[in-house]
């Protein structure tokens, strides 16, 4: 066990630092600067292009796919160093790199790889994910959006939901039902779709936060050429698994709890502050211990990955732990401040962030694997406990209620 960089890692870190020092400042978002969605995407694309030119766009991606062919630890080192700057990064870049590239790289034809991979690495193409539907969330294989073959095209009709940044994406990764006559997992097929295709309508969802990061996407007689099918007909579920098994090793922000300690210390109580209160101290210390533990668990999982081992459902712990902690501790922070946390005074720059975390945590506990789904995964795959009883087992999709 060694927490320090090896010689090679240290050399890579020095190289990355020097490169970032030269390139990152001109892309960084100034403190307090608020960007429109369109500006964020434009700046995100520019930063991605800069990384591409520097050879850092796809660190772990094989060289044959245009990546660097580096190790997962190098990717970690780059993330750590990149994290020292406030750079424009978001789902509009992350979905392409983390979801679209792996599935195209694994299941795509050489032609598809040539067409999409390099452009995505360069930041020229942004992606959204068209998976969930109003009746298919945790039970993703229940999707109802249909695709029917018509000549060289497939014609798609249906509705997708929770597609982040779809309104600013160039392309989408899409899973649809092509055969309702077989059991639900087997009747699915995977496509990439140009978001400017006729028949696609993206409507922002008004969220409880007041923002609209997510969308409903309606597909009406959208024609997708068969050349944009990823994998074969009926192989949609395998493609989805490739996307969803993408290691969930990056989860959460560090330093959250230390900033809540500052918040408590900035809240007077008696002769001292709320941070002097033993129960506050214990609650925040316990949360801090958990946050630290999550960093070290992440380091353990990365070590496994770097050896070619799969952490499997252990990785589910990363999000499960982060989302609940974010919700509990931001609620606690509001209690620590008391009634003063119910409205923001002009000189208060912190309470708004805590509101944001509390509201966002409710989405985070659902998105990308709901708490309950992740607990099932851990119980079944790590502890070997029995799977859920499935009423739809062996039943063709068309006969399901």
């Amino acid at each position: 066990m060694d927490f320090n960089d090896t010689k090679d890692e240290a050399a890579f870190r020095a190289e990355v630092r020097a490169w970032l020092a030269a390139q990152a400042p001109k892309h960084a978002i100034a403190p307090g600067q608020v960007l429109s969605d369109a500006e964020q995407v434009a700046r995100g694309k520019a930063w991605q292009r800069e990384k591409y030119d520097g050879g850092y766009a796809g660190i772990t991606l094989p060289k044959t796919l245009g990546g660097r062919g580096g190790t997962i630890i190098e990717a970690v080192v780059f993330d750590e160093e990149e994290g020292r700057y406030h750079l424009p990064k978001g789902p509009y870049i992350g979905i392409g790199l983390g979801m679209a590239l792996p599935v195209i790289g694994k299941h795509g034809t050489p032609k598809q790889i040539e067409r999409f991979v390099d452009a995505t690495l360069k930041g020229e193409l942004t992606w959204c994910q068209l998976f969930s539907e109003p009746s298919a969330g945790s039970d993703l294989a229940a999707v109802r959006t249909r695709a029917v073959k018509d000549g060289d095209d497939w014609v798609v009709n249906g509705q997708k939901v929770w597609s982040s940044w779809a309104h600013h994406s160039d392309w989408g990764i899409l899973v649809v039902r092509t055969d309702p006559g077989v059991v639900k997992h087997k009747g699915l097929t995977f496509f990439v779709v140009d978001m400017k295709s006729p028949g696609i309508e993206v409507r922002p969802i008004r969220q409880i936060s007041g923002a609209s990061d997510f969308n409903e996407t309606f597909l009406t007689d959208v024609r997708i050429p068969e050349t944009d099918m990823i994998g074969g007909v009926g192989e949609g579920w395998a493609c989805c698994m490739t996307v969803l098994m993408g290691e969930r090793l990056n989860q959460g922000e560090e330093g959250k709890i230390a900033s809540l300690m500052d918040y408590a210390a900035d809240t007077p109580a008696g002769a001292g502050t709320q941070l002097d209160d033993a129960s506050v101290k214990l609650a925040l210390a316990t949360a801090y211990a958990e946050e630290q533990a999550q960093n070290y668990l992440q380091a353990r999982l990365r070590t496994m990955v770097s050896r070619g081992e799969s952490p499997g459902a252990l990785a589910a712990m990363m999000k499960l732990s982060y989302a609940s902690r974010l919700q509990k501790t931001s609620a606690l922070a509001m209690e620590i401040r008391g009634a003063g946390a119910l409205a923001i005074e002009a000189d208060d720059s912190v309470t708004g962030e805590i509101w944001h975390d509390y509201i966002w945590a409710s989405a985070l506990r659902i998105a990308g694997g709901a708490d309950e789904v992740l607990r099932n995964q851990i119980a079944e795959r790590v502890l070997g406990m029995p799977g859920e009883m499935r009423a739809d087992k062996g039943v063709p999709f068309s006969e399901l209620k």
Binding site: A293, T303, M317, N376
Partner: protein, 370 residues
């Protein structure tokens, strides 16, 4: 970066686990409880022969000179097996105190005896209601003698010597005292954990000697390293509880299916496993930091302690719960952990002490960064 145990450490764990599974199964623990035994002496002898007791003791004093992380691997297995052994008292606390604060002569006399298991040492810190580490110890050292009362002290009945947290010239320090002498009275107390016997020790002018290197900072270090070992012990025990709960509920049928197939049970055990893996991650880091990044130790030890107690607390209680009524019987094995959890939780002081230490360390770190 490589954040995993080495092959040697994994082998050490396997070796310890194998031995303990064979020699200290739950029936053996029941036998010891029934006999009112203070420890599993034959097992102690075996651990000594295999070198486990001397693992962290320097080679110059009859040990193997291994690191805190190596010792942690052993602590984890002892926690898993829930043994009746004075390992924590004698090896984790007392031997460490001697190694860091003892004179050359003290180390030369005592460390080989502790490493070989010939002598057991107790570590006497608590003073009843005054707490596990009184700001001003009531036990005083003056003129080569100790006066006052330490209670409860684990494993004092089988110990030949004790390291005593005491006051000298108004300062907290450590003294070494042989227990088999006229000025020492040991009284066995009714102990919550039947596998760890606690004593009251009255010192009435007992002949003693100071560990000259000891002061509050040195004692902090001993307690921090002890907290790391206790965290490993708790992680091993918590994992044993999760597996016991899983195994039982897989077998137990209820309403026509395994109890383990209900989400109420699956989710509970998944949460506790997660808490255990988080705690293990903190324990690994703290074990590593104890030797490799000692400035981080106060923070890392406090974090390891807090998260290990979270995990083991839930594991010990919920393991018994998922067993249902059978869990409340002496014949089931849940109770060993249910009691040991309280021992681990209280031996090194309340969570509040460690929360305080953690917050202080975080604030100091932030101050430096700012």
């Amino acid at each position: 970066m490589n954040f995993d145990l080495s092959d040697e450490q994994k082998m050490l764990a396997e070796q310890a686990r194998g031995l303990l599974a064979e020699r200290a199964p739950y029936d053996r623990l029941r036998e010891l409880v029934d006999a009112g035994a203070e420890w599993d002496e034959p097992l102690w002898r075996e651990l000594a022969e295999m070198g486990f007791l001397g693992a962290r003791i320097p080679e110059a004093y009859g040990g193997l000179g291994l690191a805190d992380l190596d010792l942690g691997v052993i602590s984890e297995e002892l926690g898993r097996a829930n043994c009746a052994l004075p390992f924590f008292s004698s090896i984790v606390c007392a031997a460490d105190a001697l190694a860091v604060a003892g004179s050359e002569a003290q180390k030369a006399v005592w460390l080989p005896l502790l490493a070989s298991g010939e002598v057991v040492a107790a570590f006497a810190n608590a003073e009843g209601k005054t707490g596990w580490r009184p700001a001003k110890p009531g036990v005083r050292f003056a003129g080569g003698e100790l006066i006052g009362t330490k209670t409860p002290v684990a494993d004092a009945g089988i110990a030949g010597v004790a390291i005593v947290v005491c006051a000298h010239n108004g300062r907290e320090t450590l003294a070494l005292v042989k227990l088999d002498q006229a000025g020492v009275t040991r009284t066995r107390l009714d102990s919550f954990d039947a596998l760890r016997a606690h004593y009251r020790i009255d010192f009435d002018g007992a002949k003693a000697e100071l560990l000259d290197g000891a002061d509050s900072d040195v004692i902090d270090g001993v307690l921090n390293r002890a907290a790391v070992q206790a965290a490993f012990e708790a992680v091993g025990a918590a994992e044993a509880c999760v597996h016991m709960g899983r195994d039982y509920t897989m077998e137990r049928q209820m309403f026509g299916r395994p109890l383990a197939s209900y989400q109420a049970i699956k989710h509970k055990l998944a949460d506790i496993l997660m808490a255990t893996e988080l705690a293990r991650s903190n324990a690994y880091y703290a074990g590593w930091a104890a030797n490799e990044a000692p400035d981080d130790l106060p923070l890392a030890a406090a974090a390891a302690r807090l998260s290990s107690l979270e995990a083991f607390g839930a594991a010990a209680r919920e393991n018994l719960q998922v067993h249902g009524g059978i869990g409340y019987t002496f014949e089931a094995n849940c109770h060993f952990y249910y009691r040991r959890e309280r021992t681990l939780a209280l031996t090194l002081g309340p969570k509040g002490y460690w929360a305080d230490q953690l917050v202080t360390a975080v604030r100091a770190q932030d101050g430096e960064a700012a």
